[in-house]
Amino acid sequence: MPERKLQYKEELFSTEDPFFTPFEIQMGPQHPSTHGVLKLRLVLEGERIVDCEPEIGFLHRGLEKLAESMSYTQVLPLTDRLDYISAMNNNTGYALAVERLLGIEPPPRGKFLRTMVCELARVASHLLWLATHALDIGAMTVFLYCFREREKILDFFEDICGARLTVSYPKIGGVRLDVEMGTLERIYDFLPEMEKRLEEYEGLLSENRIWLERTRGVGVISAEEAIAYGLTGPSLRGSGVEYDVRKHFPYDAYPDLDFEVPIGKNGDIYDRYLCRLKEMRQSLRIVKQCIEKMPSGPVCAENSPDLDMLISKRAPVAMAKGEIAFIGFPFERVNLVPFGELYSAVEGAKGELGFYIVSDGTGKPYRLHIRAPSFVHISALPKLAKGHFLADLVSIIGTLDIVMGECDR
């Protein structure tokens, strides 16, 4: 950091303006509009941002290291805590990676249920994004309206699996519980209502003059730069690149479903906003098709691993008996799962969520790396923020849809 400081000082003091005085402030980590514990070191010239450096790691919990000491099934509840506002996507992504490693094919009903809850979680996540983004810019009404609808989606999750945020509903080889017909009907009835609500949000925001002035032409990133920075998801699609894991590398029930990938044109905040709203409509369409096409049958594959998949029982039994004996290795080196490395990605609510697993044959992952979209998106923050006003930084943070739980892991 000190070297960097000198560097920008040299740059800035060489300007011709004699009254040019750079001013450094720290924004965050406890700041209401940094969406979590993101800290930004800003260098301002007057009110314009000259330099911006994100500092992350305030929510680091060592999840990847923790996963190395757990069996594959035990890691799944931890992935709820990554992107905690669309936990279904994380669970599905992890379950899919392990399924591809073990060679398990979920039954069709399991696939459709998983796709349905993933899309509902995407709608919930985008609703929370819209709510907080609008609140940052100053539209309080949208915040309250969005939470009203998000509450209903969380109620569906509670009905399906008994939890609202940390769901742990998908499982390796399918889903944990079957969904009752009445619940599916209630979700089906909710969809046209949600469409109407989306029109309400658009009526409040899309033509509003304050919203337009705050979002149009702010935080522009071109398609080439967005690809170079590794942006994915709606942040990339707002720049006009049609990349979606659901279309290009289809998983679960997405090949059987009909949907479009909405893209923007200019790559500014307004286009990303429109892109996400269109994506919510597409998600509702997917949920509708899922319920209409829902096949019957089992929801979990027969060869899916048990919850207590492979743990050697000797150590816990000896400990529970109170014996002070040689306990032995709790995880023996036997080939329970295939060797190898594997990268598998899903389209999370924020972007491409990838899981990279290195397997050494034991029941635990030798290494689990998570490609978190928020982590990559934060790296593009300086590019987007430079040259803008400090007040615009708030909307730029909001448009990237950052969740620090996913970024710091």
């Binding site: 757990m70 099934t73 035990q74 890691v75 799944l76 509840p77 931890l78 709820d80 399991g110 009404t141 309206y145 009203r148 509450e151 109620d155 509670e158 009905d159 008994g162 939890a163 940390t166 742990s168 399918g174 889903v175 944990r176 519980l177 079957d178 309400e200 009526g203 409040l204 925001l205 033509e207 509003n208 003059r209 089992p298 929801v299 979990c300 027969e302 048990d306 919850l307 207590d308 743990i311 029982k313 816990p316 039994v317 529970a320 008996k321 109170g322």
Partner: protein, 187 residues
């Protein structure tokens, strides 16, 4: 754009205000919590309890240790001893650290006899950390407290009977589903 008639006549702002005005006359969706309560759905994952068997009056746990093995946060610790005469395991202590629990529901899903359950009880704040160390007696008390509020005669948990798993893979208990008779017929 600033000289367009829509902009001068405040069409965009009035359109938004009309939406808020319409919502003003709708029924509120909020609930005043301590006085009114929302109905929780079945199998909500809340406070832990050990099921009290109405026949024996004791916990149904058989000390198979599956719950402590699958627990991702390792919050369950069990001690047992072997009874040489009957050849069964006798439970000495069963402790759950509720503050470490992440409420994933793996313990109730893996239990072969449906002994442990996460009840639909979410108001259990305490002022000391020791109060969250649930031993066997506390867990049985939790069950009694929950059953008082439960209206039906038979309690069953969604996670006990794994409906998604094929029948051939289930243990015998789970094929039939586990019900706990609470009142009336259990004598």
């Amino acid at each position: 754009m600033r000289l367009s008639p829509r902009h001068i006549l405040l069409v965009d702002l009035l359109k938004g205000l009309s939406i808020t005005l319409k919502t003003l006359f709708k029924k509120p969706v909020t609930v005043e919590y301590p006085r009114k309560r929302v109905q929780l759905y079945a199998s909500f994952r809340g406070r832990h309890a050990l099921v009290r068997d109405p026949v024996t009056g004791d916990a149904r746990c058989v000390a198979c240790l599956k719950c402590s093995q699958v627990c991702p946060s390792r919050c369950i610790s069990i001690k047992f001893e072997d009874d040489p005469e009957k050849g069964v395991r006798k439970l000495i202590s069963y402790v759950i650290e509720a503050l470490r629990c992440i409420y994933c529901g793996y313990c109730e899903e893996v239990c072969p006899v449906g002994a442990i359950v996460l009840t639909e009880w979410f108001e259990y704040s305490q002022s000391t950390r020791e109060a969250f160390l649930f031993d066997k007696e506390r867990l049985l008390q939790n069950w009694d407290a929950f059953v008082k509020t439960f209206e039906g005669k038979v309690y069953t948990n969604k996670f006990w009977n794994l409906r998604g798993v094929p029948e051939s893979l289930k243990p015998v208990f789970k094929r039939e589903g586990i019900d706990v008779k609470l009142r009336g017929e259990a004598s």
